[in-house]
Symmetry: C2
Subunit: 240 residues, 2 copies
DNA sequence: CGGCCCCTTGAACTACATCAACGGGGGTGG
DNA sequence: CCACCCCCGTTGATGTAGTTCAAGGGGCCG
């Protein structure tokens, strides 16, 4: 049942019938293991299948001429990593494995069949893309107009809720397997500054981060500092 | 024929049949005029119809507690301004008219009908959302990792190509009716700094900007400075 | 004619980047 | 099994891109 993670993700949005569930299971024709650091998709590719994440963390990223890197999205289990490649055709960015991962493979042919015969599922997949876009917008806001501290706090709030939604939290703790350099590329900050901001968050008693585990130790205040409003995640189940 | 602008936009992506064209015309049940500065949609709204732009410029924006504003998207004629509200339901941001505008109104019921009966059109609408997301990602990259000059240059490249695609350019010139303060909110910069960057772009002979008209006077170099690659706009017509 | 916007300029400030260096831990090769 | 080395986190010092504050002038609208 490789599609279990995906189904759980889509169920955040709306109820899914047994028939739809079965179709998704069939659409995920196989699994693939990806090593840490490996690219799942490269800029310029024209994939013929889309991937959803079953275990692990992946990042979408862009490289600049100067060698700088910006991570534009972090994905967690259940996320459809490059669903848009079905419609967009040519990749304008790469997707790399932050950790060792397993992904489910859905051929574009299967997505096309769903789009031809399954309006409700198609809407949920569209919503998936729309929520990704909403998260992108939120990142634009936080990079553009918030301080490094607020921005970092905001990302921890977001990751906590997204991981909680797929059952990957324990109380206020969750696995967060990025290095500080990767976090810098996510936030648009230098590694050095990320390090100092993290020290500040720890000193203020807002989070702890040991090994790969982050614990939010003062959720109300972290949320307040970040000016965090979860609306953009569309985490409420309703008819779509 | 209020849907003409929308049809032209969708034709950037793929061919559209006459039947599809007619359906879109029927879906746009009426037009609406919006005054400059007015909100088309407000944060927290649960719209029952989506709007596409026929004439004018609009911006999606978010306000922070501190009163700061970040514009997360600029829309030009043909763009579907809040198509995603059909799927997302609750708006996490506002949409304001930068100039006086006319918009076409498409009830969500009509979108639902399309999603139930018109797979190909549904895919094109999904692509519309996906391209918005791709633009968002590009903005994340430019805000996060490019200098103010590069970032500003990038935006002008993007706006030029998007306006060209809907026939709203003349040579390298186009209407760009933002104030410098609005451009600052778009780029995540202060008004003062925007002013200085513009002077630099002008001094380098890259653009002119008088009144509401921008002319790109050195497209190759502007593109090079911006590290601009148009792939993210998906401006090639192909079967989807 | 008066009052806003909007653009522009100057000066001071600061958040973050950059450069450089070090220590610890874990994996790899000899 | 040990040695090495590379990655990762950390710290200090210095540099700078962009912010903030303040003010003036021009054009347009009421």
């Amino acid at each position: 049942m490789p599609a279990a993670a995906l189904i759980r993700k889509l169920e955040q949005f709306d109820r899914i019938s047994d028939a739809e569930r079965q179709l998704l299971e069939q659409a995920a024709v196989r699994q693939r293991a990806v090593a840490k650091g490996e690219d799942l998709v490269r800029e310029g590719d024209r994939p013929s299948e889309s991937l959803f994440l079953i275990t692990g963390f992946v990042a979408r990223y862009n490289l600049l001429r100067t060698g700088k890197r910006q991570i534009t999205a972090l994905h967690v289990p259940g996320d459809f990593v490059d669903l848009h490649s079905f419609l967009v055709k040519k990749m304008d960015h790469g997707v790399m494995a932050i950790t060792a991962c397993t992904v489910g493979v859905v051929p574009h042919d299967a997505l096309r069949l769903i789009s031809e015969t399954q309006p409700h599922l198609t809407r949920l997949l569209g919503l998936n893309i729309a929520v990704d876009a909403a998260i992108h917008r939120q990142w634009i806001v936080t990079i553009g107009r918030q301080s490094a501290l607020e921005h970092t706090a905001h990302l921890f709030c977001e990751m906590f809720l997204r991981l909680q939604a797929v059952g990957l939290t324990e109380d206020y703790g969750f696995k967060f397997p990025l290095t500080q350099a990767e976090l810098g590329d996510t936030l648009g900050l230098s590694t050095v500054h990320v390090n100092r901001i993290l020290q500040e968050l720890r000193a203020e008693g807002l989070i702890t981060w040991r090994g790969e585990t982050v614990v939010i130790t003062d959720w109300p205040r972290l949320q307040q500092i970040a000016d965090f409003d979860p609306t953009f995640l569309s985490l409420e189940q309703e008819p779509r």
